[in-house]
């Protein structure tokens, strides 16, 4: 039954609230939870739900996304039949918050005709979750719905299940129905189609601003939360980087933190998320912060409530203080010297 679903992930969405973190990448490629990119969560959920054919709608700028997904091997999507497909955006500047743009789907309608998958699941790319979509399909069928919208805490999660033939009809009749995306279908007050809501009760977090990025990252340090996200039988897959185990040097002190592989920790780390290959020098104190992959922090620094994007270099003796509502953000590849902010 679940083999009957086509997955569509809209990786074109753009949100200005993510500012510095999406200067060089699309939202779906924003690093999260120490070793993942945002898209890993929805994509892995789809694969773990038995979906074998996934199309990625992507925008013009997609290098980091392509590099990350590759042939889809890490998700077991490098298949002879089905697997991973890429649908480029028809426009150079396709950046909006709307999910499931019909114009972009229309250009790739062959994909929907060709397969014999009865249902299509359209999802955004920036929700952190580990959902079993089989349950949603079961509900969709038993309630005889035309469209099922997944919701979480009374808000849309930006995921929609629809019969593939109906989706094709809606796209083909765009001139008459005026719908520009799947969202338009669901919010149409005069809708004759049966729209159902599915309330997802597990953990889900939509990352669409720096503030949310920060608060949902910090939430991961609560074992009750990460236990809902990282399930032994439904792992979140990601691109593998072959880092060695993390080395804790004598004198290091680490409390309540999530730490990826390949790090060298010589200083103090508290309530923080440290991505792979990060170095934290002697005498440095990192608190309530997120340090992305391969950033190097010198000795005797103090970092509080900071987000360091990847490849950032912080020289010795630097003090960076943010707050929980306004974390200090350092852009990808930047260098922070001790006297720069003084």
């Amino acid at each position: 039954m679940h083999k009957n679903i086509l997955g569509v992930i809209d990786a074109t969405t753009h949100n200005n609230m993510m500012e510095d973190l999406i200067l060089n990448r699309s939202m779906c490629a924003v690093p999260f939870a120490g070793r993942y990119r945002l898209i890993d969560f929805v994509l892995s959920s789809m694969v773990n739900s038995g979906i074998e054919s996934v199309a990625i709608l992507h925008s013009y700028e997609n290098r980091s996304l392509m590099d990350h997904l590759g042939s889809g091997r890490e998700w077991d999507l490098n298949r002879k039949r089905d697997g991973l497909f890429f649908f480029p955006s028809p426009r150079k500047e396709s950046q909006s918050e709307i999910i499931g743009c019909f114009k972009q789907l229309r250009r790739n309608l062959d994909y929907f005709y060709r397969g014999d998958r009865k249902y299509t699941l359209i999802s955004n790319c920036h929700t952190v979750c580990n959902i079993n979509f089989k349950d949603i399909l079961t509900r969709h069928i038993t309630t005889n719905s035309d469209v099922t919208e997944v919701r979480h805490k009374e808000k849309s999660l930006g995921m929609f299940l629809i019969e593939t033939s109906l989706l094709i009809d809606l796209i083909n009749n765009q001139e008459y129905n005026g719908y520009e995306s799947i969202v338009d279908v669901v919010i149409d007050k005069n809708q004759t189609l049966k729209i159902s809501e599915y309330e997802y009760t597990g953990y889900a977090a939509m990352i669409n601003s720096i503030e949310k990025y920060y608060s949902h990252s910090m939430e991961l340090l609560n074992p009750a939360i990460w236990k809902q996200l990282f399930l032994k039988n439904n792992p979140i897959y990601t691109k593998v980087k072959d880092e060695p185990p993390t080395r804790y040097v004598n004198g290091s002190l680490v409390k309540n933190s999530m730490i990826a592989n390949g790090c060298v920790i010589e200083g103090h780390v508290e309530n923080s998320i440290i991505f792979r290959g990060v170095k934290i020098g002697k005498g440095t104190v990192v608190k309530n912060s997120i340090i992305m992959q391969k950033s190097q922090i010198g000795t005797n620094c103090t970092l509080e409530s900071a987000i360091l994007d990847k490849d950032v270099r912080v020289e010795n003796g630097v003090i960076l203080l943010g707050t929980n509502s306004a974390p200090f953000v350092l852009r990808k590849g930047s260098v922070q010297g001790a006297l720069m902010n003084s």
């Binding site: 990282f230 979140i236 804790y248 004598n250 680490v254 730490i259 990826a260 592989n261």
Partner: protein, 379 residues
């Protein structure tokens, strides 16, 4: 098929009986090492990092896990259209089953594999050593010296020399005699079990060795002496760097402890010579507010709530509150209960240590405690 310049043959069929219960259900090359790897990862990664893309892996003892671990070789980038990794277990032919009775017979029985690539050189490796080496440097040396066979050697302390296969050499590094574990060693150059043969010479001598009913079909014991007898040019290639035979529980433990020392010579963090392994796909490690960690290596998927001091912790290990782990190696997915004390021990894969257990070797010995399900029942 397209000719290959150098094909590697990796001997991975050993039982490693001195590793005791660790090799009960898996071959020695598959034993976990260094917090994330299996022993064979080092040789396979060395091949990849040396640009050798054709590797035959000879298996025999308990091959199930090893075979599934190697798979098609993608973890080491050895899933190649032409060449790549090929697992070579013993097989039957019209005359019957031919088990690999020695290192040389294992290669002899896979001459067909080598013939299809018709290489100029054959690199023979052993899958149970921990080291990083660029085999290309050795191959260049072999070619420059116009040797028939090159044998990689490492200087060992004189007092330990009688534990190794020792190469006696003249001043040009030509091997004059091979002595297996000599009581009174005349040299301190130990064979690392790494050979480069001219393919034509290897073929000729393996056939000769096969015809000898007295032979035990071992490279060190039979083939090398035969080559010396026939006046072939054997050159010792001096290797400088970290190399360890992890044949015993003690040496396996020592090699793990070496990783915790920054100047041990084995750098896992050198990105130019990365050690690849099959990824277990687990989330980052979580270090709780009650944890204390000093001088340790910890892998992904761990949940650490206790105290870790100078230890190597593999993926998926859970150490609960109040426990102390000192100078130990905890293999994948082990669960260490509350208020456990572990010192100088190896905890094998998947074992559950109940709350309040104390594990340490007797005070006066320098032994390493290898825990088993059975030994836990006795505590």
């Amino acid at each position: 098929m397209v000719r290959k310049k150098c094909v590697a043959m990796l001997l991975a069929g050993g039982k490693g009986s001195r590793l005791s219960s660790l090799t009960k259900t898996l071959a020695k090359p598959a034993v976990p090492f260094g917090g994330k790897y299996r022993i064979i990862d080092f040789t396979l990664s060395n091949c990849t990092n040396s640009g050798i893309d054709t590797v035959g892996v000879l298996t025999q003892y308990q091959p199930l896990l090893l075979h599934s671990y190697i798979g098609i070789g993608s973890a080491w980038d050895l899933d190649r259209r032409h060449g790549g990794v090929t697992v070579l277990p013993p097989y039957t032919e019209s005359s019957g089953v031919k088990w690999y009775t020695g290192t040389a017979s294992a290669i002899y029985q896979n001459m067909n594999y080598l013939s299809q690539y018709d290489p100029e050189y054959v690199l023979i490796l052993s899958g149970d050593h921990i080291y990083k080496m660029d085999y290309n440097d050795m191959l260049e040396y072999h070619i420059k010296e116009e040797a028939d066979v090159s044998i990689s050697v490492i200087e060992v302390p004189w007092e330990e020399a009688s534990r190794f296969g020792i190469m006696n050499t003249n001043k040009n590094m030509e091997v004059t005699k091979f002595e297996e574990k000599p009581l009174y060693p005349k040299n301190n150059l130990a064979s690392m079990g790494i050979y480069i043969f001219k393919w034509s010479v290897l073929k000729e001598f393996l056939e000769m060795d096969d015809r000898n009913p007295e032979s035990s079909h071992d490279f060190g014991k039979d083939v090398i002496p035969l080559l010396l007898e026939e006046k072939k040019k054997l050159i010792a290639y001096p290797f400088k760097g970290y190399w360890k035979d992890v044949g015993t529980v003690k040496s396996l433990w020592e090699a793990n402890m070496d990783l915790l020392q920054e100047d041990s010579g084995l750098n896992l963090f050198d990105y130019n010579q990365r050690i690849y392994s099959v990824n277990p796909n687990q989330p980052p490690q979580y270090i709780s507010p009650t944890a204390n960690i000093h001088e340790s290596l910890i892998n992904e998927g761990c949940v650490i709530e206790g105290n870790i001091d100078h230890s190597v912790i593999f993926q998926g290990v859970h150490v609960e509150e109040g426990s102390i782990i000192k100078d130990s190696v905890i293999m994948p997915d082990a669960v260490i209960g509350k208020n456990v004390y572990i010192e100088r021990a190896i905890i094998p894969e998947g074992i559950h240590i109940p709350d309040n257990t104390i594990i340490r070797a007797d005070k006066d010995t320098d032994e390493i405690k290898l825990v088993t399900e059975e030994s836990l029942l006795l505590i």
